[in-house]
């Protein structure tokens, strides 16, 4: 068989953890091969080895049938292996062409930079693969999807034959995802080979030919995507069967917990982000907010939690007016908040897990007494959350949070917030970037909170998530409430139209 890249029996150990343990993956020429695994399963490590950033402790890498030693990324490039990173590595004020040739500039008269020739080649490549990129556009002026194409062009410009895509759709809108999948198909039809790192089964189903599943550093198997169902692959990935729909019974909404009355809030550019926004959330229900990113969701959450000042209007929690109260006072009044950006807001990455789990309550008994921290109570608290929320880390409570995987960081935050036993739980993008196993688990926990009679305010950009979890859905567009619908009486199409600003009645007639 004709393999472009073979990694056989790869093992890589880090202090205290075996990241890769006997992993084998074989990439055929001209195929899209998905690498599927949960967060922390060892996908990134494996690809870093292929890209020359780590050296394997054991195992063999073959490129075009020849055994090779890839000691650094330059060697990988010379072997025709290119990587499209999840976080783009682009110079914002530079043009597309300048970014692409960075590091392998075309020269003229020894000193002169020959942009024109390079731009011409970029143009040609762009046309050939249907990328549609303007070689002279500045990076800061083009969309995220376009920036990703620049990253792809960078690899093509260096004659890469094997392209590694690391979670490429995490930053894209649904339309951009479709375009990207089109591009990937075009690339393989022109003879390139692709490794697609992902944990989204939908995408694998859409583009991949074969799929290698790894779990906890081991290869579970390689399957033919066309012949394998989503459920089967998910089961291989997490090691047990997974349900894609959320198991929940009819909710029993109680009294009003949160009352928002004609709220006006300005965003950081001093423009009105919320315009006389009113909303009630009841005990025992999950209220989902649906909307395209940047339509006022962030400002709404920040206005409730106190991170952003309110221009006018009122926020009332269980009959208590929150306007003017500090963040801490609001926390103590019964708000818990799973923040949108877990690493920026939710965690002090350089603190231990233990320390992070008392982030809001460190100054309350039993965690401290007369200004002194009580380490025993703190570690007990941590152990409790670690156990009941299945937070995995290298050395338990004393692990530095920075070293933990994203899914476990998120579980820690959710554990911390749920354990505070709030009246109102605000969950913003609670499953962003997580694998199916963690998503299922987190969804279950949110429903459990609802069933305990808490009010849950869910804000998510994933329409599926909002539809599956919520009892009622409020649609927000340009800072205004478009309407509130029952999730049992609506569908994706209606919500989509409402998200675009059509009122419910109008949407129904469309």
């Amino acid at each position: 068989m004709d393999y472009v890249v073979e990694m056989v029996g790869i093992r890589k150990e880090f202090p205290g953890i075996v990241a890769n343990d006997d992993i084998t993956i074989r990439l055929k020429k001209g195929e899209i091969h998905a690498l599927l695994g949960e967060n922390g399963a060892g996908k990134s490590t494996l690809m870093s080895i292929l890209f020359g950033m780590y050296q394997p402790d054991r195992g063999m890498i073959k490129v075009n049938g020849r055994e090779v030693r890839i000691s650094n990324p330059n060697v990988a490039n010379r072997l025709g292996i290119g990587m499209v990173h999840q976080h783009f590595k682009l110079v914002e004020p530079f043009t597309v062409t300048e970014n692409i040739i960075l590091g392998s500039e075309t020269r003229k008269y020894f000193f002169g930079l020959d942009i024109r020739t390079a731009a011409k080649r970029v143009e040609q490549l762009s046309q050939r693969y249907g990328l549609n990129v303007d070689p002279y556009a500045k990076i800061e002026n083009i969309s995220v999807g376009m920036q990703q194409r620049v990253e792809i062009l960078k690899m093509l410009y260096r004659d890469a034959e094997v392209l590694i895509f690391d979670e490429p759709t995490a930053v894209l809108t649904p339309q951009e995802i479709n375009d990207l999948q089109e591009i990937m198909r075009k690339l393989v039809s022109e003879g390139k080979s692709i490794i697609l790192i992902t944990h989204k089964l939908k995408e694998i189903k859409a583009v991949a030919d074969r799929c290698t599943v790894i779990r906890r550093g081991k290869t579970i198997g390689t399957v033919d995507v066309a012949e394998t169902s989503r459920e089967e692959m998910a089961e291989m990935m997490v090691g047990r069967s997974v349900s894609f729909t959320v198991d929940k019974t009819e909710g029993h909404p109680g009294d009003v917990v949160l009352e928002i009355e004609s709220l006006n809030v300005k965003n950081s550019k001093k423009v009105n982000a919320l315009k006389s926004f009113s909303l009630n959330v009841n005990a025992g229900e999950i209220l989902g907010i649906a909307g395209v990113d940047g339509n006022g969701q962030t400002e709404l959450v920040e206005a409730i939690t106190g991170l952003r000042p309110i221009e006018s209007g009122t926020v009332v929690l269980k009959g208590k007016k929150l306007n003017g109260l500090s963040i801490r006072q609001r926390n103590n009044s019964g708000i818990a908040h799973i923040p949108e950006d877990r690493q920026k807001r939710g965690l002090v990455l350089d603190y231990t897990l233990e320390e992070n789990l008392i982030l809001e309550v460190y100054n309350q008994p039993p965690y401290s007494k007369r200004g002194l921290l009580r380490s025993e109570a703190i570690s007990q608290h941590a152990d409790h959350i670690i156990q009941s929320f299945d937070v995995r880390s290298g050395t338990g409570g004393s692990s530095i949070v920075r070293s933990m995987s994203g899914g476990n960081q998120q579980k820690a935050i959710i554990g911390r917030e749920v354990e505070r036993d709030p009246d109102l739980l605000i969950a913003v993008q609670p499953t962003r970037g997580l694998d199916v196993g963690s998503i299922e688990y987190i969804h279950k926990r949110l429903v459990e909170q609802r069933d305990k009679g808490k009010a849950v305010l869910l804000i998510s950009l994933e329409l599926d998530e909002v539809l599956n979890l919520s009892d009622r859905i409020a649609v927000i567009n340009n800072g205004e409430l478009v309407g509130i619908v029952k999730s049992s009486e609506t569908n994706e199409r209606e919500l989509g139209l409402m998200m675009a600003g059509y009122r419910k009645e109008e949407a129904a007639h469309e």
């Binding site: 402790d57 801490r328 807001r345 965690l347 002090v348 603190y351 809001e360 921290l373």
Partner: protein, 358 residues
């Protein structure tokens, strides 16, 4: 990797580099180091002097380290030290109180003076996001010129234009029994202030909710805000404490090691504090140890110079090189990591061979 190992390696490399320097300039490094160490530790008096030299370094190092742990880069310890020392001297020269009241008052006022000098940059940072590196440096010069004009105007010495009057014995940290213990050394109560400060800071950083708050703000301002910690207040408070400790260094220097305050000099200990903090890995005990080491080099170099032809600047060069190695400890870390990996690989290879042979 363990921070103390990194620091010790930096010291070792610095000493080796110093030895090479001595060799290149035609001197005997063994002899040089012998006299350098003897100069610092030869007899109780010299040991006492080493401790006294180290005292302001402990405090400025602690000041920088405390700020650093809370995410602030206080490089104005020199100005805070000068102003704190000046305030203490002013009290000592102006008030006629019994020693038991006067000394604590001077220490307190010295702390407040230094704290005040750091609170201004702290406030500017919290309120207007002015970077503390810029504002603390500027405050250095404000302190410098304030002392430059106020001392001659109000506390002029009898004979010298460039320094204040001598402090009366009751207004000095000098303690006879301590000098007697160290056979005439000028070591003084300042050393105990330094020890107490180290212990208090270690306690605050590691055991209190205050330390938890300040560190959280230093590591991640956004998360601290989310948790309900008053971020702006924490920044100001952190600068207050850091500056206060630097002020104590001024008290130790100008009312302990010296008996008057000179004008036209920004104390070098303020800047050495950055190096001390760096070598001490920003931990209170590390700062204490590295300040003692710096004190040893500073107090021993005169003796080395007197006994050999080696210029005293060698000691400064060694310190500079050590700082280089401490600052680039990531390189040392990598080196060690590489050696370790190779050793493990060799060992595995050995095992493999063993298995193959069997």
């Amino acid at each position: 990797m363990n921070n103390s190992i990194k620091s010790l390696l930096a010291v070792l490399f610095g000493l080796i580099a110093g030895a090479i320097l001595m060799l290149v300039t035609g001197h005997n490094p063994i002899e040089g180091y012998m006299y350098l160490i003897q100069g610092g530790l030869k007899n109780p008096e010299r040991i006492g002097n080493t401790l006294a030299t180290a005292t302001p370094l402990v405090l400025t190092g602690l000041s920088v380290a405390f700020a650093f742990r809370t995410g602030l880069f206080n490089i104005g310890a020199a100005g805070q030290m000068l102003f704190g020392g000046f305030c203490a001297t002013a009290i000592g020269l102006s008030l006629d109180l019994p020693r038991g009241i006067l000394l604590p008052l001077m220490i307190l006022i010295g702390f407040v003076g230094g704290a005040l000098w750091a609170v201004i940059p702290g406030f500017l940072k919290a309120k207007y996001n002015v970077h503390e590196v810029v504002s603390t440096i500027m405050m250095n010069w404000v302190a410098y010129w304030t002392v430059y004009y106020v001392v001659p105007a109000y506390f002029k010495g009898a004979s010298l234009e460039t320094e204040s009057r001598q402090l009366p014995p009751d207004a000095m940290l000098h303690q006879q029994w301590l000098s007697d213990l160290f056979q005439g050394s000028y070591v003084n109560l300042g050393f105990f202030i330094a020890i107490i400060a180290v212990l208090i800071v270690a306690f605050i950083i590691n055991k209190t909710t205050l330390g938890y708050e300040l560190k959280a703000v230093g590591f991640n301002r956004h998360a601290a805000e989310y948790a309900g910690i008053a971020v702006q207040r924490s920044i100001v408070l952190s600068m207050f404490i850091s500056g206060g400790i630097a002020g104590l260094a001024g008290v130790a220097q100008y009312t302990g090691n010296a008996s008057s305050i000179q004008i036209g000099i920004l104390p070098t200990q303020g800047f050495d504090g950055i190096a001390v903090s760096l070598l001490g890995a920003n931990t209170p005990l590390g700062v204490f140890a590295s300040a003692l080491f710096f004190g040893l080099l500073y107090s021993g170099r005169g003796f080395m110079n007197a006994m050999t032809e080696i210029p005293p600047e060698i000691a400064d060069s060694i310190i500079a090189i050590i700082i280089y190695f401490a600052a680039t400890s990531i390189l040392i870390e990598r080196l060690i990591h590489k050696l370790k990996v190779r050793r493990i690989a060799n060992k595995k290879q050995g095992e493999q061979d063993h298995v193959d042979n069997a």
